[in-house]
Amino acid sequence: MYKYAVRRLLLAVPVLLLSSLIVFGLMRVMPGDALTALMGESGNIGERELAKIRKDLRLDLPYHEQYLLWVWQMVSFHPGDSIFTGEPIAVSLAKAVPVTLELATLAMILGLVIAVPIGVLSATRQDSAADYVGRVVAVSGLSFPDFWLGTLVITFAAIWFHWIPAIGYVSFWESPLRNLQQFLLPAAVLGFRLSAATMRMTRSTVLEVLREDYVRTAWAKGLEGRIVVYKHALKNALIPVVTIVGGQLGVLLAGTVVVETIFALPGMGRLTVEAILFRDYPVVQTNVMLVAGTLVSLNLLVDLTYAWLDPRIRYQ
């Protein structure tokens, strides 16, 4: 297991480096440079002032030095300042990351709570009304855009319950109840979207496992249905579900961008969208890289969990 973990960790490093090169390169393919584009849009700024800002932001350095400097800044947790607000990016992130983390965790929990029981029910009662309802829910989850669901939730919550998303974030430690009130609906919207793929995967793996010989043996020796499903089948069926949950992490992180924007939650997603709209490229490149880093690390964690659950993988 230790050897496998080290090998996977070593494989993740070049991927992250390549991602950083892609993000860095992307921010530099803009005709002229980011600053000229930004200033060109914001009004008349003299050549001298522009040169000064460019020097302050180290945009006058050769590309490879800019890249190394940026990697160093990222690694040392000082990714520079926002062009637009002047605030250090680390400070904005320190405020935004906990919001996204809370939203993502709640959404993931809600997603699993919806997905696994419905998936198991669909599989154990294949082709029954419950199965059809479960499958329709899953396909709807895949097809309904989260921004539409979010908009509808806000619209009808406002019409029926006169509820509008609170302006101004309240942290969990300040007021747990108000915090949960703020997060429950956005997490439910995101969780519903996440549950779709997990539900489909749970259904198909449980169906597959239920046809295995050892499950037939369990039935044959007269075990109770609940024990056969939950003790014998589900344990093995959940291994591929871990992978699909891992695969969902990208959807989860992308989903937070949309949901935070709709529900006015000051997380990473909203910070990124605002930075994109204001063309605040240091913030964009830092946030995108941070998201990529998180995704790679979480995937690594999922792979390691998978290897721990299924020892055959470690020896492949």
Binding site: P14, V15, L142, P145, T151, L152, L207, V257, T272, V291
Partner: protein, 299 residues
């Protein structure tokens, strides 16, 4: 040379047999699974709506009639009107054209580029494969929507740039699937035989390997089409895709849908329903294609 000319007709015949076999198995699956038929019908309706938008739409999607602003759904305006009195139904119909067009082109560019990279990686293996696949890993490490947002931020928000961004998101996954299919197709004896008789690489790739790769590509492409429509709508919703006053489903939801949600919920309801139906149709059709053409995944 004589051998090659003698085999050509047989090969062509075999290929057309494969095509007929595929269409037949698709038809059987569609008949067996009513959801497949429903999705195919829905896609046909969407395509016709997009093509005939000018004829089908009852009003000009850009014509404002302030005197009937925020009118509720009625016989004259079945989906109601928006904040400046534009007919929502006509805008949804014209939005269908934008969504399908962006989806199709993005999916087309992404699929072709992904296929070329996948073919190169799978066929050449070695260093090219290692380099290109690590590059694809690097791109895939960034979540699709976040990558699309970053690309649009560099290129400036517009429909065309959203399309390019979506295509970039599609490429890595497609290249990986094609690479896998190529690697397994290369194991076939007839590919070895073609190499042994001295066929050139392009010929081996085009006539012996590519036909093996088309089924997974078409399945993935149909699923990606739904996703591409969804990403375009999301980008437009976030304000970095299609720009006003062009009618785009995502933009309609964000610009008027959210602003007037309490007074006029239909502004958010209908464009969202259109996006969901389109994505649902392509997802279900993709499932049907997979059931028909990919025996390994057939339940």
């Amino acid at each position: 040379m004589a051998t090659v000319t003698a085999r050509a007709p047989a090969h062509v015949e075999a290929e057309s047999d494969v095509e007929i076999g595929r269409l037949r198995s698709l038809w059987t699956t569609i008949r067996r699974k009513p959801l497949g038929a429903a999705s195919a019908a829905l896609i046909a309706i969407l395509v016709l709506t997009a093509l005939l938008a000018d004829v089908v739409a009852p009003y000009d999607p850009l014509a404002a009639q302030p005197e009937i602003r925020l009118a509720a759904p009625s016989w004259e305006h079945p989906f109601g009107t928006d904040d400046i009195g534009r007919d929502v139904l006509s805008r949804v119909i014209h939005g269908c054209r934008i969504s399908l067009w962006v989806g199709l082109l993005a999916m087309g560019i992404g699929t072709v580029a992904g296929m070329i990279i996948g073919l190169l990686c799978g066929y050449c293996e070695g260093r090219t494969d290692l380099l290109l696949q690590r590059l694809m890993d690097g791109i895939q490490a960034i979540p699709g929507l976040v990558l699309a947002l970053a690309i649009v931020s560099v290129l400036r928000p517009s429909t065309t740039n959203a399309m390019i961004a979506i295509a970039m998101v599609i490429i890595p996954g497609n290249s990986r699937i094609v690479r896998g299919a190529v690697l397994s197709a290369k194991q076939n004896r007839y590919v070895e035989a073609a190499q042994a008789i001295g066929c050139r690489h392009p010929r081996i790739i085009l006539s012996h390997i590519l036909p093996n790769v088309t089924a997974p590509i078409l399945v993935i492409a149909s699923i990606w089409l739904g996703n591409a429509i969804l990403i375009e709508a999301t980008l437009s919703f976030l304000g970095v895709g299609t720009q006003p006053p062009t009618p785009s489903w995502g933009l309609m939801l964000s610009s008027t849908g959210r602003a007037f949600m309490e007074q006029a919920p239909w502004l958010a309801l209908f464009p969202g329903l259109a996006i969901s139906l389109a994505v649902l149709a392509f997802n279900l059709f993709g499932d049907t294609l997979r059931d028909a053409w990919d025996p390994k995944l057939r339940g």
